[in-house]
């Protein structure tokens, strides 16, 4: 009994020992998964002595929170996540414009003109297929958008749902670009593709594990997610369509009314500079650096070699996004 009581007291003591807060801190919501974000924040702490308090949310959840907290912001910086999440945030007036020293060096598609957000990385789409599946069907890794329409893929593809995922929106705009922005032609293709889709997942990477495990034959994913699947030991092929495929920038932004603006700006300076982006490869974070001063990791460059990758035109995508997604929901997603 005595032992039990001692154990209880020890447990209570441990439970009550809350985390002590350091003096210099910056509070962050990260949209990058923790295994990518954590090493970057550790590098930042090493370089500046500023501690990063962070928690990870998917892009939609992070944005919903920042909007709800607008009158009393809990964080200083929104870190990572596709540009379109940030575009939605601008409409809600949640960001404070800030131009880091790297701002001027970046090409136009990697920054918002007023400095509402700045890109920290680039993330192209790829086709990812399960090698065992390809072998069983006698197929080669798909090398064209048309290849995915092969009946052998029937009920075998998983890709993201455009209602929740930036990955999906980038994919749909890729198809539009490939079809020279002829919407009817693009939608005719998307409807045909639907026949082979097993399920549209809620998150961009939702289909990677099923493909890795062979529950699905393949899909269209961001390269980071595809390479992460491969590095976990799943036997998958990564390929690109000869017609080309889109890419989406990952961004960072300062929150309006941030309680630690000085530290927040330092984090943005760090993230947009070569200081952080040159560490991406070292930590096996397979984003393509956005800062032109940083060379793409040779291993990553090897995979990208020969691939046709085009950026999605911000103005065109911004002006048409809602209409295109609505049309996709109506014509493609619903029961056929």
């Amino acid at each position: 009994m005595k032992l039990l009581r001692l154990a209880a007291i020890a447990l209570a003591g441990w439970l009550l020992a809350g985390a002590a807060q350091a003096a210099d801190t910056v509070n962050v919501y990260t949209i990058w998964p923790e295994n990518y974000a954590r090493p970057m924040f550790q590098e930042f702490e090493k370089a500046t002595g500023i501690k990063v308090n962070f928690i990870r949310f998917s892009s939609g959840e992070a944005l919903a929170r920042v909007i709800a907290e607008k009158n009393n912001p809990r964080i200083d910086v929104l870190f990572g996540g596709p540009v379109e999440t940030f575009a939605a945030g601008i409409k809600e007036g949640i960001f404070e414009p800030y131009k880091s020293p790297s701002f001027d060096k970046l090409p136009a598609r990697f920054k918002q003109a007023d400095g509402q957000w700045t890109a920290i990385a680039d993330d192209p789409l790829v086709f990812m297929t399960n090698n065992a599946f390809l072998k069983s069907k006698g197929l080669k890794p798909p090398a064209s958008w048309e290849d995915l329409l092969d009946p052998a893929y029937k009920n075998q593809l998983q890709m993201a749902d455009a209602r929740t995922s930036g990955t999906a929106v980038t994919r749909i705009f890729s198809v539009l670009e490939v079809n020279k922005r002829d919407e009817d032609k693009a939608f005719a293709y998307l409807k045909k593709l639907r026949q082979n889709v097993q399920v549209y997942t809620k998150s961009g990477g939702g289909g990677t594990l099923p493909v890795g495990l062979g529950q699905a034959g393949g899909g269209i994913f961001f390269i980071v997610d595809a390479l992460e699947t491969r590095s976990k030991g799943y036997d998958v092929a990564i390929s690109f369509p000869k017609e080309g495929i889109g890419t989406s920038a990952e961004a960072i932004a300062l929150i309006k009314g941030a309680k630690n603006p000085v530290e927040g700006k330092k984090l943005i300076d760090f993230a947009t500079s070569a200081a952080m982006q040159s560490k991406l490869a070292e930590h096996k974070v397979n984003f393509v650096p956005a800062n032109p001063e940083v060379k793409t990791d040779p291993a990553l460059a090897e995979i990208l070699k020969g691939a046709t990758i085009f950026p999605i035109d911000d103005d065109y995508a911004g002006a048409n996004r809602k209409r295109i997604v609505d049309r996709w929901i109506k014509e493609v997603l619903g029961p056929q």
Binding site: R56, N71, E92, R163, K202, L209, L213, Q215, D235
Partner: protein, 566 residues
């Protein structure tokens, strides 16, 4: 009738203790249920400070949303019926089949597994088992290219996840039925089937109604299961609401869709009141008869019950064996070498989440248990102005999808003077007010079986409300108290939909870590966390049962013996 009610009202007002309790409860309900709901309504129906019905009308006009509404009702009804049936099967097996204690403990444990496991686990196990390359569908049955997405897999996953609620609700009721009652009917020459139909089942009606209501509401509010399993042709409202908010950044639309869910939830509640509420189901009258071994179920039927329960339990155990296996191999499906590395990860990197979750669950547990029996007792036993309103209000947070509750809390408690976000109390409050309805319903159902005269005797001997409650009622409803307590604890360890919006830089949760692991494709740590959660919950539940056994309350023996397994 009216004068009687007025007299009851006066009696309430004349009882300062009762009045105080009512005031505190209403204050809490106003703060943690009504105020966030009001905040939500304002968001949904105002545009630049003006009232507008536009979001509601456009939602109703959308054929996709109407289909989702119908789908939600179909799914919730299916889950309600199947889950209650499965719960009844287990409850009958537990109380009437005469299985040995060890078997019953094992069955209890299996039945509790789905309830105590973190979100997504059942869904993922179903995909692994019934997917195109699923273990059962492909490797055992040799089927190719089957689909694991759609109505039936969603209904199956939700039924397996929620039927333990029905079991927990029905079991104390079945065991509280005095076996002598069945015995009497038996000696009067009734056939077993007739007794079952005309004595046992009618006495369970409040239990059925409560179980159905709880399952219906749980399914209606569940977004995690359909998110993974519903696929593209079977949309349901909570998932649509979640997508609307987190995907389309359309908060108004999401709020409206969620509010639509309140309509069927309240409808079922009212129906339940109408058909069940007025009858009496008294079987505990104070003088507990000599317990006799029930002969109401024939040996053949008992064996059938046991076999069916064991079969269901086997399916559940198989699902969780898969989970345990995934936590012990390097990468499930790719590199199946044995490793303990994932457990090392959760006890190093994952330690803060474990600590936070335990603190939150331990604070919430007693609060939730107490709140549950208090409200349940007031609703079932006291006549006071606003009683029905209290019953409805106490169910609201349970019936709303978690996403919406989470966001409503976030908006309501972000600004001073009520700046609770970022702290621990907002998470605790969310759990208590969202998951105590199980305790409330269990208390109500149990009290409907206990004759009022017991409490009236106490009152007429001069005891006040507080004393009667503490010394007479509380011991009688201890099983419901512990059920409520247990559910709040379990949910604090396993729920995610609401609290993902309430975790903060300083307070995080295991379930959020699990979701994070899944995003990182780290199936191993996710499985290890899940196994850890299940082990902790089982340990706590075992302690609760031990306490309960010690209490040896005067409520019909078996009910007190063990409610939560063991």
């Amino acid at each position: 009738m009216r004068t009687e009610r007025a007299r009851e009202g006066r009696r309430t007002l004349g009882d300062p203790a009762l009045l105080g309790v009512l005031a505190v409860l209403w204050l809490l309900l106003a703060l943690f249920v009504l105020y966030p709901l009001a905040e939500l309504l304002v968001r949904a129906f105002s545009d630049d400070g003006r009232f507008t019905l536009e979001p509601l009308l456009s939602s109703l006009a959308d054929a996709g949303h109407r289909a989702a509404f119908v789908n939600s009702l179909v799914l919730a009804t299916t889950v309600g019926v199947l889950g209650t049936a499965l719960g009844l099967l287990f409850a009958l097996t537990a109380t009437r089949s005469g299985l040995s204690r060890h078997w019953l403990t094992a069955l209890d444990a299996a039945a509790l597994l789905p309830l105590v496991s973190p979100p997504f686990t059942t869904s993922i196990a179903i995909i692994f088992s019934f997917g195109p390359k699923g273990f059962i569908s492909h490797h055992l049955l040799g089927l190719d290219n089957v689909t694991a997405y759609g109505f039936w897999s969603t209904a199956l996953a939700e039924t397996l996840t929620y039927f333990p609620i029905a079991y927990l609700t029905l079991r104390p009721i079945l065991s509280a039925i005095d076996p002598n009652l069945e015995e009497m009917a038996f000696s009067l020459g009734g056939s077993r089937w007739r007794i079952f139909r005309t004595v046992t089942m009618p006495l369970c009606v409040p239990g059925f109604a409560n179980a159905f209501l709880l399952l219906f509401a749980a399914s209606l509010a569940d977004f995690a299961t359909p998110l993974i399993l519903a696929g593209n042709s079977f949309a349901v409202l909570p998932t649509q609401a979640y997508l609307q908010i987190t995907g389309m950044f359309d908060f108004k639309g999401g709020a409206v869709l969620s509010l639509m869910l309140l309509v069927p939830a309240i409808g079922v509640y009212l129906a339940q009141r109408r058909w069940v509420g007025r009858r009496t189901y008294v079987t505990v009258t104070g003088k507990v008869g000599q317990r006799s071994r029930s002969r109401a179920v024939s040996p053949v039927a008992a064996a059938g019950l046991a076999a069916a329960s064991v079969a269901v339990a086997a399916v559940i155990l198989y699902f969780y064996a898969l989970l345990l296996y995934a936590s012990l191999v390097v990468a499930f499906g790719a590199n199946e070498t044995f490793t303990l590395r994932h457990y090392h990860v959760i006890f190093t990197e994952g330690l803060p989440a474990i600590r936070d979750t335990l603190v939150i669950a331990l604070i919430g547990m007693p609060l939730g248990g107490l709140y549950g029996v208090l409200v349940g007792w007031l609703i079932a036993r006291r006549r006071f102005p606003g009683r029905q309103a209290m019953e409805v209000v106490s169910m609201i947070n349970y019936a709303l999808p978690g996403t919406i509750v989470g966001i409503a809390y976030l908006m309501a408690f972000n600004d001073p003077p009520l700046a609770l976000t970022g702290g621990v109390m907002i998470i605790v409050a969310c759990y208590v007010f969202r998951y105590s309805p199980t305790g409330i319903r269990a208390t109500v159902a149990l009290l409907q079986q206990i004759d009022r005269s017991i409490e009236e005797a106490s009152a007429s001997l001069g005891a006040g409300t507080v004393q009667t409650f503490r010394r007479v009622t509380l011991p009688l409803i201890a099983p419901a108290f512990f059920a409520g307590l247990g559910v709040v604890f379990i949910r604090s360890m396993t729920a995610i939909s609401a609290t993902i919006f309430l975790v903060s830089l300083s307070w995080t949760l295991i379930t959020v870590r699990i979701l994070e692991n899944m995003t990182e494709l780290a199936l191993g740590p996710a499985a290890a966390f899940s196994v850890f959660v299940i082990v902790v919950v089982f340990a706590v539940v075992a302690c609760l049962s031990a306490v309960l056994r010690r209490l040896r309350t005067p409520t019909a023996g078996a009910a007190a013996q063990s409610l939560l397994g063991g």
